[in-house]
């Protein structure tokens, strides 16, 4: 686990808005806004958001579209509109570049998986495992989403204005998932970090076996999973929720002060037996 070399004890720090320099075994490197080169991957392209184009995928396979997106990024297009996706699978995956990507319609399984950086808007719905393994960026789904929404994401904002299926945020290790409607069974299953906000109701076994992270629920909770417990909603939580929902443009008139906060009870795993440095990392 990581050692925290520098920790600032401030309000912003408590809200997660701090910067950290990590040393030790971890390979994790936190974003540092003071280093401009951190905005780009090595080999990523500098695109112009005002340079816009459209791609119709009615007769294209996912492989053809994803190849086309790469070549357009290489040509410097910063805004790409994809028309007629018609529920096809694995569209827009593996984009490691800043990009404004708009899908006009619905996507199938594994939509925009393993992305790092782009801002994506999907005007329809998505199937299972949307944005799986997302590292950074923002994905907005205007309608409903299937199961495993945001599975194993590491960062970024993932927003669904409608309702989502089962196992939303399963195994997530960072980032924020925001749901405008309801969520199904096993939401936040085995999540390790990050936050989930659900404005509607949740199904059974919410937060089952979660290691860490936080789930906020606006509606009713059918049942909590193993080791998921209710915690006190703090003023910092309320401030963070308001800001996050405002940025995500959902629940503008939602009273976040009445939300229920769910965290890990940490009884499934014996955290006390961890070495002090590991314990610090786990928390």
């Amino acid at each position: 686990m990581a050692n925290l070399k520098q920790v600032k004890d401030s309000k912003a720090h408590s809200m997660g808005l701090h910067k950290e320099v990590l040393t030790g075994r971890t390979q994790q490197v936190f974003f540092n806004s003071e280093e401009a080169e951190n905005f780009f991957y090595y080999g990523a392209y500098d695109v112009d958001f005002n340079k816009r184009t459209e791609v119709d995928v009615a007769d294209k396979s996912c492989k053809e579209l994803n190849g086309k997106l790469n070549s357009l990024i290489e040509e410097g297009y910063g805004t790409i509109v994809v028309k007629n996706p018609q529920g096809k699978h694995s569209l827009g995956v593996g984009i490691l570049n800043k990009l404004n990507l708009i899908f006009e319609g619905s996507l199938g399984y594994f939509a925009v998986g393993s992305i790092d950086g782009p801002i994506v808007r999907i005007t329809g719905r998505v199937g299972w495992s949307c944005a799986e393994n997302m590292m950074a960026g923002k994905v907005v789904v205007e309608k409903n989403a299937g199961s495993c929404f945001g599975a194993a994401i590491r960062g970024g904002d993932l927003i669904c204005r409608g309702s989502v299926g089962a196992r939303t945020g399963i195994d997530m290790k960072g980032g924020t998932i925001m749901i405008g409607g309801d969520a199904g069974i096993f939401t936040g299953f085995m999540m390790q970090r990050g936050r989930i906000i659900i404005l509607g109701n949740t199904g059974p076994n919410l937060g089952d076996s979660m290691y860490d992270g936080t789930i906020f629920v606006g509606g009713t909770i059918k049942s909590l999973g193993s080791d998921a417990v209710e915690s006190k909603l703090t003023s910092l939580d309320i401030a963070w929720l308001k800001r996050k929902l405002k940025v995500a443009e959902i629940g503008s008139d939602f009273d976040v002060s009445k939300m229920t906060k769910i965290v890990s009870g940490k009884k499934l795993w014996n955290y006390d037996k961890l070495e002090p440095t590991e314990k610090k990392g786990a928390i």
């Binding site: 018609q86 719905r125 199937g127 299972w128 309608k143 309702s163 299926g165 069974i185 059974p204």
Partner: protein, 313 residues
């Protein structure tokens, strides 16, 4: 993995064979081993339509034993003889492949006794027996099976179908879906998932006189629901019971002569996408199946865990 699909038109007859073919072909990647159709058409003047096979498809990829066509001929003669003994009158007969047949018959007695007698002929299985259901299944993808059995022009109100990836039983017609709800006429089931309580449930049903033709766990759902309906339990109630009494991960579709139902297990582990409008309900393991019917932008959603729904024609 397997793919399932279903659709029901409310108050309208359409080219149901072609519509289901397109849906299932879009799901081919979920299961290329065999494809099955349960199509609900206009029937034949109130007579029973019996689809049955006397052997297996022994083509490429099949796990069945090769048999000579003369063996099929001999079994067919035995079936004809049994029909005569049962007092059933053959109105029309068609031989669709060397091993499969479609008969229109007049019969008004007990279907269980009827089925037992016919299926006493070696390798013979009634695929469906009903007044509107026509159940067709064979090896290959949806286009292959549709072409082989001439399903493109079949008209009807609703249908369910399955593209199978064989996991727990052989690549043969016997284990292909859909399954007829023996001996409840006009009932069929397709399933995606695994039933872990298969043997417990099967033994209990066998003690009640129900028969199983395969060792495919999906057949259990058809037999389970048929046994419920034989006892006068409504389809929707039987389906709700199945959520509690069957163990495993599953999503299944069931159809009767005038309804289509869907059930999802309590873990919601198997996919299902649902589109519903005033005149059409379409379901598929993936949205791309529904998109073959409705290429324009539509609203769909995933039913939740433990959800049961039934629609009428």
């Amino acid at each position: 993995m397997c793919g399932i699909a279903g659709l029901i038109h409310k108050g309208k007859t359409v080219n149901i064979g072609k519509e289901l073919r397109d849906m299932l072909q879009a799901l081919k990647h979920r299961g290329p081993d065999s494809t099955g159709y349960a199509l609900y058409g206009e029937g034949s003047n109130g007579d029973y339509i019996m689809r049955f096979k006397v052997g297996e498809n022994v083509g490429e990829g099949s796990s069945a034993v090769n048999e000579d066509k003369s063996v099929y001929d001999s079994r067919k003669k035995q079936v004809d003889s049994h029909l005569k003994e049962l007092g059933a009158q053959i109105v029309k007969e068609d031989r669709l492949t060397p091993y499969s047949f479609r008969y229109i018959i007049k019969y008004d007695k007990d279907l269980m006794e009827f089925s037992k007698k016919i299926e006493s002929v070696e390798m013979t299985e009634i695929l469906s027996l009903g007044k509107s259901l026509e159940l067709v299944k064979d090896l290959g993808d949806a286009n292959t099976v549709s072409k082989q059995y001439g399903l493109d022009k079949m008209k009807g109100t609703h249908a369910i179908g399955h593209s199978r990836m064989a996991t727990e039983s052989g690549v043969d017609i016997r284990s292909a879906h859909p399954f007829w709800g023996y001996p409840f006429s006009d009932m069929s089931v397709v399933h995606n998932g695994q039933l872990t309580s298969y043997w417990n449930n099967r033994r209990a049903l066998e003690r009640k006189g129900m028969r199983f033709m395969s060792e495919c766990d999906s057949e259990l759902i058809a037999v389970y629901l048929a046994e419920k309906m034989r006892r006068g339990i409504a389809l929707e109630e039987g389906m709700k019971d199945s959520i509690k009494e069957l163990d495993g991960v599953f999503t299944y579709l069931v159809a009767t002569k005038d309804s289509l139902g869907m059930a999802k297990d309590v873990m919601a582990a198997k996919p299902m996408v649902l589109y519903e409008s005033d005149d059409l309900v379409a379901l598929g393991s993936e949205e791309i199946a529904i998109r073959t019917l409705l290429p324009q932008e539509i609203d769909t959603y995933d039913p939740y865990e433990g959800e049961v729904k039934v629609w009428q024609t």
